[in-house]
């Protein structure tokens, strides 16, 4: 797709002409929504057809003038105009001149964990009373009615990882959400999808020499982590031994008077799926030394992991590639070190891609979760520093879908996938592009938010 043209010269006039068409389209979409409302999961039975748009399938390139059919929350058909059969009773929406693409996926946010950050009373970002808290589940705190969610999805972000803040080494377990639903139940697509392991140094308890607690150093962080995993292994072993003995007893091999079940320990139990390699650990580090320590730890315990951030690890990218794991980059706006060139972090996605590393973007910058909506612009910006456009788009759609175990359900415009579909008036990665309509599970999402209400109230 021609993403470099900006709005230069003649193509711009064409865009103006298109705008008229867009307006018509918007009115139509608005009316359609009023009729449908957000009816929740799989309530759609009548097919909805998007006709005439430029389809960015992500998996199979661009279809210049395509047709996409959605029904029962799924994509039923997709292809060039004329090749797709349209159900006779379908609701057809003409999206000529529009760009249609899969819903965007942000690989680290804090959506639903905070409303107004400052003051803290609405913050459920992280439990800092201990550093090892895998028994914390963001799903338990996730606030489905957060005002941040409509603001975010209006820009085409339909799915996200919700992670606790990174102030603990093991702050809890992430959930994979979709940004629409009547309740948390509907929005939490995968609870406890992964567990962050943060090893950036920010997890030390070293506010000052006077106010220091264990772990004051990285050595302390690593020792504490190692002990936690060892404890969990022991715990698993205790239970296994107990189960074995009980099995033997049940087979009538005599009673051991002392046979007692080990005491349940939620903290250690939470670590077991990760020690068994059933779930993914998200390993966050910035510097090469921290990265290597964290990877060594992960290997020591055979953890299945993906990497997160690695903003200052440019000197070891070949090593990173050799790990053969995906990397969540982002945000690429992290400040380079004083001795580094200005674009050192901007170039990270391109450098990783060049080495064959699968990447996904995240918007999470400290705890700024208010502008998750800007996720696509980061991907666009990365193309100006060498990342191929298609890869940039993939890094906020198909790649994260695959990383989070949703590769067969999300991330591309393919038959059988969940109908998370975005209609916009142009290049999804460009900051000027206006998103006209978002579908989540085939449902037309109200294109309104607290912010549009304020805008409208003061525009009168």
């Amino acid at each position: 797709m021609n993403h470099h043209s900006g709005c230069s010269g003649r193509s711009c006039k064409r865009r103006v002409a298109r705008r008229t068409a867009v307006i018509g389209c918007r009115i139509f979409l608005g009316a359609a929504f009023t009729l449908l409302g957000y009816a929740g999961t799989f309530a759609q039975s009548r097919a909805v057809v998007l006709k005439g748009g430029k389809l960015l399938t992500v998996s199979r390139g661009t279809i210049e003038s395509g047709v996409l059919v959605m029904q029962d929350g799924k994509i039923m058909a997709v292809g060039p105009a004329g090749t797709v059969s349209v159900p006779s009773d379908a609701q057809v929406i003409d999206v000529t001149g529009m760009t249609v693409y899969p819903g965007l996926i942000d690989s680290e946010t804090h959506l639903g964990l905070v409303e107004i950050l400052e003051g803290g009373s609405s913050s459920d970002l992280v439990e800092t009373s201990d550093e090892i808290m895998p028994q914390m589940h963001v799903a338990d705190a996730f606030h489905a009615e957060s005002d941040l969610i409509p603001v975010t999805r209006m820009n085409g972000v339909t799915n996200a990882i919700v992670a606790p803040d990174s102030l603990d080494t093991l702050p809890g377990q992430d959930s994979f959400i979709q940004l629409a639903g009547k309740s948390a139940e509907e929005m939490l697509v995968i609870r406890d999808v992964a567990m962050p392991l943060n090893f950036t140094g920010n997890q030390r308890r070293n506010e000052s020499w006077e106010k220091r607690n264990f772990p004051q150093t990285r050595m302390g962080m690593a020792a504490q982590l190692r002990q936690a995993f060892l404890d969990a292994q022991d715990y698993a072993e205790q239970w296994a031994r107990y189960e074995r003995k009980r099995n033997v007893e049940e087979k009538g091999a005599g009673k051991d008077e002392k046979l007692e079940a080990p005491k349940h320990n939620l903290r250690l139990e939470a670590l077991l799926p990760y020690l068994e390699g059933k779930k993914t650990v998200v390993l966050a580090a910035e510097e090469p030394s921290d990265l290597k320590t964290a990877v060594a730890l992960a290997r020591e315990f055979n953890l299945k992991f993906v990497l997160n951030h690695i903003s200052h690890s440019q000197s070891v990218l070949d090593y990173v590639a050799s790990l053969k794991v995906p990397v969540i980059v982002g945000p690429i706006y992290k400040t380079p070190k004083p001795e580094e060139r200005y674009d050192t972090v901007y170039r990270l996605p391109a450098e990783l891609h060049k080495r064959g590393v699968k990447i996904a973007f995240s918007s999470s910058f400290d705890v700024d979760t208010y502008n998750v909506r800007n996720l696509p612009y980061q991907a666009g910006f990365a193309t100006s520093f060498g990342l191929p456009y298609d890869e940039a788009l993939k890094a906020i759609t198909l790649n994260p879908a695959e990383i989070w175990g949703m590769g067969d359900k999300l991330g591309s415009l393919d038959v059988g996938k969940i109908a998370n579909v975005v209609i916009a008036d142009g290049d999804p990665l460009d900051v000027k592009t206006d998103v006209k309509q978002v579908f989540i599970e085939g449902q037309q999402i109200p294109m309104t938010s607290r912010q549009t209400s304020l805008r409208d109230a003061y525009s009168r």
Partner: protein, 449 residues
Amino acid sequence: MPSSSSAPARGLAFWGVDNLRMFLFLLAAGATQTQAQIPLGSASAHNEVLVTNAVVMTVTHGNIRNGEIYIKDGKIAAVGVNLPTPVTAELIDAGGKYVTPGLVDCHSHIALGGEDEVNEATNPITPEMMMVDAFDYQDKAIYRVLAGGVTTSMLLHGSANMIGGQAVVIKHKYGAGREAMLFPEAPRSIKFASGENPKRVYGQERHQLPSTRMGNFAVQRESLVRAQDYMREWDEYKAQVQMGKAAKMPRHDLKLEALADILRGNLLVQIHCYRADELLTEMAMAKEFGYKVRAFHHALEAYKVADKIAAEGVGIATFADWWGFKQEAWDAIPWNAVMAMRKGVRVAIKSDSGDFARRLNQEAAKAMRYGGATEEEALKMITLNAAWVIGVDDRVGSLDVGKDADIVIWDGYPLSSYGVPNKVLIDGVVYFDRSYPGYGMPRFKEEDQ
């Protein structure tokens, strides 16, 4: 996009071709004289530069396709098409790229020694603080922001105090040394703040006045009354002396002197302020004491009272889409900039961040998306209007004859996700060149710092 192809030769309206020839002649005669005065003049001793083959986005009079900019002694000497090429000029072929004025960031805290140095947060009234005293000219942030196309920044005191310190305005001539980086004769600005920050810093953290918005404004009013008294004391003393009478000289009080300068109109008042009610209260207080507010910074609820702000001739320097991070930012909407602009408010978009300062162009592009600002309106928010907030709009912020030759040549369309500076010139000198190895700074040597 307004006049990318419709204004081919309007740049020359300011400067007829004959005048230009005459100018070139005169300048050839004086060339050797002026050369020595330009610090860091290019190695090849060119004090003339001709940028050719550009889409010149003038900001004030449309875009010029196949445009050229002729620079002489660090100033823009001509803008147009087919300018006569002086043989002595260094040629920069823009290769058909977009060229804009250097971006202006009217709200920054970089190069002031870090977070702990930006606020003298021990007293809510500290107008005698001078940011120039904290100016860390070696801070690499100046370079990183330069690489984002910003050529002028106003470095402000933080927002802990109702009346903070006096700003320093810099040009991002990284490596040229401290003095060369100070914007010559920039007007003095003073930072005010209101709302939650002073409440928190004094009320919550230090258990002292102010802890409420009532307290905030009482502290501010009190200080201005003290300044009035101070001015009266000095006036009376001077009157006595003039009449030949013996009189006791009042103390020279740095703080009160600075406050008096606000009342005398010697300082541009830049007010950190979020909520609509506080915007109104600040304007009322300015009226009460007879000073003018130059601009409200952040001004996230400006859209609620835009007509009243416009009526006072006050500008705003706002975020493109920041919101939510604190209570007083909860009603922020990304349409704020354009809604205020449509009501006649002069709007700038600023960074308030060493990160966002590196891509102000993207932030401005959001004004096109949210509310439909034209390309020129959006660009103005990070150039001419921002320069107006600082009070240097007669010197920078547009590609007009006579202005400083602060110029950005862009890879990609600047008002998009893809716009990245290819070269940045300040006062006609290339300070940043993306294609240059290392830092991309042809004139920078670490050891010269």
